[in-house]
Symmetry: none
Subunit: 197 residues, 4 copies
DNA sequence: TATGAATGAGAGTTCATTCAT
DNA sequence: AATGAATGAACTCTCATTCAT
């Protein structure tokens, strides 16, 4: 008798977040109605507004979750005890794998960020900034120590790499010719090769 | 006494396209109402529907215009009479310059493509594909002739580069520390360095 | 086949205003839905929002109309060529008659003014103020010339009289024992008697 | 650390009534949500519904309290051992002072009575009626004994006076040029002067 | 070639009330 | 005596599109 629902037994807020994430990724934020979300989560509109102040809050929660996760992983790799070359390669490859594992989040990220209100946008940008800067510090460290070529400003190198990471949600499909690990290795390799002195 | 309008003296369809391009880039496709577009263009709704069948047609026209332009430029650089290294570098740098010159178009492209109906989407993807393949052919040519490293599949290299091009609309701001030409040189350089054998 | 509608042949904006006035008076502003208004006027919601920016605009229009009417009438009586006693009595009686003729407007006025947004409220209060002051000037003129007792500040006298006018919508019902003219004469008489030196 | 609340130490029902009275007066009955009331009172929704059957019951309680109070005071003044002129003046002035002391109640009264369900409305009207009639009896007594002019029906005189009393919440502000006692004296004076034979 | 009034479906959000605990 | 998650209906307002002129 029961209809298929997003994570049937899970707590309501999680069910809502899961449904929203999938629908935002599939259809875009504006094209997804609150009605669709609550139907997919198997709850009523009232329940949604009991837990989230607005549809926009839901979007922000999606962001917050993925940002937290990626920052933690980057910190772990960046602070590891290994040569700088190894640490950058690991971090660069890991963000690819993690992004492929959460392609929906990534798709939402790069298409829907401008749907956030100015203040929320600002907050998300701030956290993005921290992430960007930790990554840049790795590149600068290698440039300072002569391991990486200083030919390109580190900022630009970061944007070069993350451009390709964001782009993944446009072309990568699970089941394609390359596994996520292969893609990650190739992209990290391209980055490291570009940085050779 | 007249209010400022998009390309005041230009023909109505151009005025509408210019207004739509700006507004789609600023606010997103769904957030831009037909009313806003006609007001910005200084015409009435009836006029818009006289020239364009729907709001979506307007979006497709924006795409068609930029795709045509970029394909022409790529063809010119790719078919030039120069060593492969030079031709790839020129093409890679040119797409950066052209994208920065049309940041609005780029922003629309990577945020709003999924707003097109399936059939129009298909058509746009097809043209994108042609573009991608011409670029890939350049890389494969260099790999075949030993000028570029064959370590990474050419497809992936194309996506690596175009990821960073798409990403430009996220971070590049005119008036920043780097001119468009400097950015273009740096990004083309990164690509070529990554392809060194 | 046609349903009963507010002023069937009249232009749409008038039909909407008439329907809104009646419903606001009967049920209050907040209790009246836009849906009810458009149904009573025999149009669709879209039509309402084509002519009025919001439900609140409709309310403001009701105010603006009645304020304009009453100010015109007061000016006519106050500027007439007659002894001050006569002019005050005429003005005082006329506002009673006019109010009874538009009991709906009056009811809305004294119950729903606080539903207007601060800026609109301010504007309405300003026009009310002008009306109040023209009336007060009449009383002060009589007090200065010794025709009326100066025992009570003119401001207070104005509020005394208008309190009873506002109150009409609470108790007066057409078809009661007193005609509107009789009520008007009595209330004007009370005012004049209170002002006897 | 606790937030400021309505009558912090008082019993819950009183806290709720105080919060509701203030909010209804400030924003109107319909614009005040149950959530706002319970937050202002520092309790939860469940507590409100434990003591009051509905939001409307809360409104009726506000009415009942003020009606009880005013009836008691009127009875005291009306039944005093003093000349009719004195008793009317005292009662007329007292209702002004009491109203000014409870301007919130008055504002609610004259704006929100139509929000009560028909049956509750009826009951409130009945109590109002009793009050009105006690007051009218005073005027009739004076008219019968020749102390007051019989020119105006006593009913109308009552409405004349109470119109101005209701109107107080519209214009009177504590801290203005007239104290509540001065306003009361002036308004009682106007009534008595209007009734002079 | 262009107008703008009108449509009608659907959007996000609010809210009084209930009920298992 | 009190909680707070959940309901479900109603709310105001928006919008792409049509069509008589």
């Amino acid at each position: 008798m029961a209809k298929a629902m997003e994570g049937d037994g899970a707590p309501v807020p999680q069910r809502l977040l899961a449904a929203a994430t999938r629908l935002f990724a599939e259809q875009g934020y504006d094209r997804t109605s609150v009605q669709e979300i609550v139907e997919a989560a198997g709850v009523t509109k009232g329940a949604l507004y009991h837990y989230f102040g607005s549809k926009e809050d839901l979007l922000q929660e999606v962001y917050a979750r993925v940002l937290r996760l990626q920052q933690e992983r980057l910190d772990a790799y960046a602070n590891a005890d290994a040569p700088i070359e190894q640490r950058l390669r690991d971090a660069a490859a890991d963000v690819v794998v993690t992004t492929i594992d959460n392609l929906d989040d990534a798709a939402i990220f790069f298409r829907s960020m401008h749907h956030l209100s100015p203040e929320k946008n600002k907050q998300v940008r701030l956290e993005r900034r921290r992430y960007h800067e930790r990554f840049r510090a790795l590149i600068e460290e290698g440039q300072r120590t002569g391991v990486f070529s200083p030919a390109t400003p580190a900022d630009l190198v970061v944007d070069y790499h993350f451009g390709s990471v964001h782009h993944l949600s446009t072309w990568y499909r699970p089941g394609g010719p390359l596994s996520r690990q292969e893609v990650a290795d190739h992209l990290a390799d391209l980055l490291l090769r570009a940085l050779r002195p």
